[in-house]
Symmetry: D2
């Protein structure tokens, strides 16, 4: 079923395909009175924008957002905020290969099985281009949680991880990989370039931290903060794994090592001596930074031939020509941040629905 | 916000606390005409039941389910199915320690921060006891997808993994760990027993496979099958990580190694030469087995003292007496299976809503 | 589709049939810390209880509610509140007539067309008995909106209306019809008794007023307060019409006569000189009393033979023996009140989600 | 709370204000493979279009719809369909009166109370202009239910009703009032023109009939077809009452007169001898035409002064200059049809989710 809405009271719906006239999002339930203009959104889109280095797709889109509704005199009115980004670089190309045969790793075969046919141009709805809509919506969500600071970065590409001893948040925007470790960034230049030249691709791990989340957002069970975040992250194209806090590593710890001991703090809030839980206990935020890790598989569009079948069921080989990200996880960084913002903003509003307060 | 309903058209809502008179679930949207009785549900509850070996909690509950509605002459009527399990072994014990101070790793502090107070008896709503309701609901869901075969097992305890070369599905029910590798099962006896004697606890990884899922269930983006499964699994108590298919390992592969090449099959369906994607491409099932992995953190209730603070904010130490699972992941196996069944049954119904067919 | 959940953040789900072991409701999203016990709910159930006069069904049920979850030390915890009412008077009777042929006006034929079969005992899920669950849930909702005063009454039975000049709210509980006009109440005794003796039944109009609703609850469009209330009321068995404020009468007024002029008030809030709008403008409460009218059709179960067909499609006549309300609208009064409370409580929480405040 | 999405599996979300750059709708969950182009939608928008006679607002908008997504080679793909209509006639006018004082009958005061401020230009979000988005979405919904025939008409203006003895569906499009009774249409010319000249306005009743709905759509209780339709209709601006079938008139009938007796039919389906129930019994369609009535209040924007207060709370008088419909119910006809189509299409999909079949 084609549910394209995410969120419970702060909801957003996205629409649009890679090769249609535009893509967009409608953000519903935003509190009224928040100052908002295109200038609040554009920087996040620019961060995600293709074509900024040779390590991302060479498709060039200005990705300029227009706000079509929900504003009056520069402030949100509480009604739906419609965001639209026109598609400008839909290079006319020959899609006959993709139309005829299924690209392994792509949704091609599954789409045909589900819908009976598919828009094969540039991936249609499953194009990573859709994530621009999320980034735009996420920029609105950030306004709802002004006290929360969210940042993400790439911690691993093709199995080559950063050294946390060299972690420097100030470095994240100094390289084309959103890499907090300058030495890893240097290595990745070669690594990614080499994959690109081979016509291959690489996977990546993105980590995201939200600080300033007060204790008390979330819910004990089905709408657990962990669960909402996992759904949000796993809804991003190419994502195949999510960890909250220590994630799978926690499964290797003993209880006493996985506990996050508490000590009295000076400001009335407890001081935690560790954060294995990633800022979430029993589905509810603890006041510690919310932390998660997201696994992006390698881009499925590669120039190396892969065995496949045609729509008619005959054996074939396929390569995917065109302009592709050699490592789609890199541009996933602003998308992960956006989804974090959207979930936390929604949870803030849900918390005050049930428990009151601002 | 306390959303205790999961699912989109086949929905279930659970209720109940560890120390109330009963727990239960309401399953709504079940197709009519399915033969159902308590006997279809009980075996799954028995599998999850506490007290079956020294490796699980010594709490003893018969966990007998009663169906209170939604049946007529032994078949589902299409109206809500109310399932109730009475709590029978609520041993009266002294909870004054837990009432006064927060157990690190537990939801105690977060609950107080959210709600202002909490039911501290046996974890209240966040007790793993709630998962019995899920298991009961999952048994109903299985009837909706009779052609799908679902099984889960423990693949790792405390960092000690099975050897896949020795994988034997027939072994899973031959040991108290749901372990498909008999040698690992032997090692785990010592491992878990030793943790138990230390008053400590261990984490675990549970893997789940659903075969017989046809190509075409799921959705391209926000209701991606991956996303629904991630939300479902991450909503289980103590779960901190979810991987679909190769998950984080996919992030370490190159594009050509992560592709699941296709060859023509004899029955008209393609044959896949690998299943890195875990049976899901672009959010939609491919016809391959759906596979996922779930990380359970070590039980937070341990007898080893941990630093904490009291409700008044004073420094303290706490140990958690009582009857606890030394490795809560073990009894997570039937819960993971149940959530898999619930998501797939819901997706089947959603698919036929949009695309027709049975 | 069998959606048995109502509400957006304060949600309730009901389950149960007329002839099963019990019926019930799960209330989810209730704010924490509200004092609650069975004693808060029982009076509302008693008001709806059958068998209190000869003008209602002679089925006798104590309708005693049990709270199975969501409480700790007498206060709501913020987790689901499970309410159960056992069915005690399921008189064993012969349903073979109803099993074989369709009762016109009842859901019998539609159920068979939808589900392929039906629970024909006492109406199954479509029994008015289900409304006891709503009344129980509504009692919880009232606690969420302590400053709102809700009352309903019957304004018309079988076309015989009250005289508003004699309206006396104090009379409502002084007669078996919840009638605010003592003279109408007298007339109705004869009217209803005569219909009962004829084996016939009568329709009724129920009106409901909620005062103390502050200005600002609701939404401009799809979740308009009018829309939510209409959905709530029209979900009650036997209801076929809903009016907000003047309703259809407003369609006969000119604009200047339908306006609710405002004057400055002493307390900072405006004084309205009329309330044609029923306290709702543009979908949002204005601070005036919220007013609506609900049309109940005559009970479809009558002793007068009606032409029908059998399950096999043959012509037949049917009469519906058993214990039925000669005017089901009478016992609709506490149900309408409950639905009003449930909608308003939900809207209060939604309002503070988006706009903050308590 | 600003929920601007309607529907359960076939959902649509609308956005936009009277004086923004555009308005639009996103339709999600549409089945794949349906032929669709702007030409399928435009005729319905033209029917609703302002400025077609002197009996509607003189605002002139071409209301040309663009489909921005969800199509491939002229067919729906199963992904979201984004529909946009540009606002072209936003006459610059002086809104200072409306900005300063509240128009009784409008949402002005309630908006300020809820959101703290409001977009006062042309009603902002609460402008009837929003209904163009619904009409566009409704045109898509009609494609989902090709066997259902839907038409609506005005049965009453300002209390002057049609004579059903003269009912002629062929007349509906022959006059500017969508009136099936040519004599009433003549009377209404004078009636509406006179109200317009007085600077006043009139209410209206719109009736809608959907034939071709098979038995079995809907649900027993909270998602009753009656309830869904009531919510849909009551969500339209200016609507204050909804009746299903005989509605309030049913409350004046005796049980035997309100029954819809059944006789065996030639085609295997029953023949009903009456349709008091409006084609819905127990919340589920019976196979008879689905019928409802909707009350539109008189347009609140009138040139006759009404007492009001200013934002500062001072007494004032207000008249609403500008181009307004003297009877907003007239242009409500295509909106009611659209909402009927949207609800029925959604219910068709829900029915096949639970019960299978196409």
């Amino acid at each position: 079923m084609s549910f394209n809405t995410f969120g419970r009271v702060l909801r957003f719906s996205t629409w649009g395909e890679s090769h249609g006239p535009a893509i967009g999002a409608v953000v519903d339930g935003c509190p009224p009175g928040l100052p908002l203009s295109e200038a609040d959104i554009q920087p996040f889109l620019d961060k995600r924008k293709p074509g900024t280095s040779k390590f991302t797709t060479q498709r060039r889109e200005p990705d300029e957002v227009r706000i079509l509704s929900g504003l009056f005199e520069g402030r949100t009115t509480g009604t739906p905020i419609s965001l639209m980004i026109e598609n400008t670089d839909q290079r006319s190309k020959d899609y006959s290969d993709v139309a005829k045969a299924y690209r392994p790793g792509h949704a091609d075969y599954a789409y045909d099985a589900k819908y009976g046919f598919r828009d094969y141009r540039g991936g249609g709805r499953s194009s990573a281009r859709e994530t621009a809509s999320r980034v735009a919506a996420g920029a609105v969500a950030r306004l709802v949680i002004p006290d929360v600071d969210i940042f993400a970065y790439v911690s691993e590409i093709g199995g080559d991880a950063i050294d946390y001893a060299r972690f420097d948040a100030g470095e994240i925007d100094n390289n084309p990989f959103f890499c907090p470790d300058p030495e890893a960034a240097k290595r990745w230049e070669q690594l990614v370039d080499s994959a690109r030249k081979d016509g291959s691709s690489l996977g990546a791990v993105v980590e995201c931290v939200a600080s300033g989340v007060p204790a008390g957002w979330g819910a004990p069970l089905y709408a657990k903060l962990d669960s909402e975040l996992a759904a949000a992250m796993m809804s991003i194209n190419a994502v195949k794994g999510v960890e909250i806090g220590d994630g799978f590593a926690a499964a290797r710890l003993r209880g006493e090592d996985n506990a996050d001991p508490m000590r009295p703090g000076n400001d009335g809030n407890p001081v935690f001596l560790a954060n294995h839980a990633g800022g979430i206990a029993g589905g509810i935020s603890t006041g510690q930074p919310v932390k998660l890790r997201v696994a992006f598989k390698p881009t499925s569009s590669i120039l190396i031939p892969v065995e496949t079948i045609t729509r008619e069921g005959d054996a074939s080989d396929i390569i995917t020509k065109g302009r592709h990200d050699p490592c789609v996880g890199i541009r996933g960084v602003p998308v992960v941040e956006a989804m974090m913002a959207l979930v936390l903003a929604d949870q803030k509003l849900l918390h005050r629905a049930q428990c009151g307060g601002d």
